[in-house]
């Protein structure tokens, strides 16, 4: 235990600038989130008849309160962008310099001769950073959930894709993935600043790729939602819109276009027609549909995405270990 504390103290002192800035930034964002969440909740509690306004629109007496509420809601919504960006930012700022600084500053020579195993050294170095990232992002995960709950008090956010990736523990998993990738780029480049720039690019590309891959996976599991006749379950994830042809086949719009299915007009019931004449004659070319993942699948989908991010991080950590094993310390 003493050893772990000593190691934590030494690791902190080697990265204190980044750690302090990241911790202060996280504390500010988390604090503001909590403040907004409690302010929004208090406002709703104080004005139960005004907020939420429903379809009827606010009464004249409520107009000022509602305007203030929506104003705050807008800011709070923006605030969730920070919890989206935080894991990637932490991967860049805390991951990339970890090995790069040792190589650039020449201290890797000392560390790699004192330590029997470079991989062991690397694992201990990353362990401290990982704990810090997990704690900081854990705080953000909790506060972002609080804020989201305050923004949508009537929804069950445990089964709702609203602000997915901007709240909850997916943030922590993404942080771990980004930390691993940052570490790998830093170990490969061996200089702090270039590693930071390059890791920002690599982390961006890696997570875009993961996101596209996951979307692809999800599209195979999507439910068809008939936009005109069915009520969409609140909190569903909307993947793409498309059309159901009279033979029952479903296509996204781009697939339909590629197959020569031309829809020029869609009526209020969501029926599509190839031309005005067809519409008049009632010759339906297809019905308007959407591909969705119901909100009830939120926990499972988020767990899968978190596992993908974690796996990417572990793979990057494995590659980092290979790089560190083979590279020169200067």
């Amino acid at each position: 235990m003493t050893g772990a504390l000593t190691w934590a103290r030494l690791s902190f002192r080697q990265q204190r600038w980044e750690l302090i800035l990241v911790a202060v930034g996280t504390a500010i964002v988390a604090g503001v989130m909590v403040w907004f969440a409690s302010a929004l909740t208090a406002m709703i509690a104080a004005n139960p008849t005004c907020i939420p306004t429903g379809d009827a629109g606010p009464s004249a007496a409520c107009a000022a309160v509602v305007e203030e509420y929506y104003g705050m809601q807008g800011w709070a919504d923006q605030l969730l962008a920070f919890s989206f960006a935080a894991p990637f930012g932490m991967g860049v700022v805390l991951g990339a310099p970890l090995v790069a600084r040792e190589i650039e500053g020449g201290t890797a020579q000392l560390a790699w001769t004192l330590s029997r195993s470079r991989v062991g050294w690397l694992l201990r170095r990353i362990a401290f950073a990982a704990v810090v990232v997990a704690v900081l992002l854990g705080v953000l995960a909790v506060t972002s959930e609080m804020l989201a709950a305050a923004l949508l008090p009537d929804r069950d956010l445990g089964h709702d894709f609203q602000w997915a990736g901007r709240r909850g523990w997916l943030i922590v998993a993404r942080g771990m993935g980004a930390l691993g990738i940052g570490l790998l780029v830093g170990a490969a480049i061996g200089r702090v600043l270039p590693a930071i720039l390059a890791s920002a690019v690599v982390i961006g590309l890696a997570f875009t790729g993961l996101s596209l891959l996951h979307d692809r996976w999800l599209s195979g599991e999507a439910l068809i939602w008939d936009q005109a006749t069915q009520i969409l379950e609140p909190g569903s994830m909307y993947l793409a819109s498309g059309i159901r042809t009279p033979d029952g086949a479903v296509h996204t719009w781009s697939e339909a276009q590629a197959r020569g299915v031309a829809i020029e007009y869609i009526d209020e019931q969501g029926r599509g027609y190839a031309s005005e004449a067809d519409m008049t004659a009632g010759r339906v070319a297809g019905t308007d549909i959407a591909f969705v993942i119901p909100g009830s699948r939120y926990p499972e989908v988020i767990a899968r995405e978190a596992a993908m991010a974690g796996a990417a991080g572990l793979a990057a950590l494995g590659l980092s270990a290979l790089v560190v094993r083979r590279r020169r310390p200067v």
């Binding site: 980044e18 800035l21 700022v93 310099p97 600043l193 270039p194 930071i196 720039l197 920002a200």
Partner: protein, 279 residues
């Protein structure tokens, strides 16, 4: 002159390579992607967002390295004894970077200006991506980076402090110029927008001409669907926007801000390196 360029490249080749590479990718992306597929797409938004971000991040990353790295790696001893006039050394290190990255920034701004003109009005930040403004923002970020790198004497802290500072500066520029741009805005019917180089739509509203031919915004007066249809039929959707004639004055403002940044943060760097030793 060529010697300084070569030295700058050798010392910061990673940062320069990544910056120039990113600017080239953006330029090529803006030039080769067919306008019909690009405009309004996610790729278009990404392209414009990166056009805003890359010059700033490049400027900061290169700037903090110029003094911060010399001190951090203790090469300042060598540099500042070989060139005893430290401000001359600073200038010698900075101008090749301005040249090597500023030029690609200008090229990128030409490429994105084409995108903006074809896409019609959109967001406020697009003004910062027209003409030389991209390069001005790079120079501003470079100056901020040099100043912070010299003051904090290390690269990474300089970058970490510089990023929020630059975000703040960009926000301040936006807020400060907003009333002035609004005061100089013109009203243009929606049908006449395309290809006229408007980059900043402030509002879209229903309006009609008064007797003097000026556009007057007003709410259609109606109390039934039929009367509303009739009221709307006499009116036109009008955009209130910053006209192309304001591009020049706006660029002058950005240039002044960049100059002020160079003077302020360059002065900070000069003060920091002249007052303190390399170690």
């Amino acid at each position: 002159m060529l010697g300084w360029l070569r030295v700058a490249w050798r010392l910061q080749r990673w940062e320069l390579g990544l910056s120039i590479g990113a600017l080239c990718v953006l330029t090529v992306g803006a030039l080769v992607t067919p306008m019909t597929t690009l405009v309004g797409s996610d790729a278009w938004m990404t392209l414009l967002a990166f056009t805003l971000i890359v010059p700033i991040v490049s400027g900061l990353a290169l700037g903090v390295g110029i003094v911060g790295r010399e001190i951090g790696m203790r090469t300042g001893h060598l540099a500042w004894t070989l060139e005893p006039r430290r401000d001359r050394w600073l200038l010698g290190r900075a101008w090749p970077v301005v040249l090597m990255v500023g030029l690609p920034c200008l090229v990128l701004s030409v490429a994105t200006a084409r995108l903006i003109e074809h896409s019609g009005p959109s967001q406020a930040y697009q003004l910062a991506m027209t003409g030389p403004n991209v390069a001005f923002r790079f120079v501003l970020a470079l100056a901020v980076g040099i100043g912070l790198g010299a003051a904090l004497r290390r690269e990474l802290p300089g970058l970490l402090v510089g990023l929020p500072l630059m975000v703040g500066l960009v926000a301040v520029i936006g807020v400060a110029t907003d009333p002035w741009l609004r005061a100089n805005a013109v009203m243009v019917p929606q049908g006449e927008i395309d290809g006229r180089g408007f980059v900043r739509a402030l509002t879209f509203e229903m309006a009609e001409r008064d007797t003097a031919g000026r556009w007057v915004v007003r709410e259609p007066q109606c109390d039934s669907p039929a009367s509303c249809d009739a009221a709307y039929a006499t009116m036109t959707m009008v955009m209130t926007a910053v006209p192309p004639a304001m591009h020049g004055p706006y660029a002058a403002v950005e240039a002044l801000v960049a100059l002020a940044g160079v003077a302020g943060f360059g002065g900070l760097a000069r003060w920091a390196i002249s007052r303190r030793g390399p170690d």
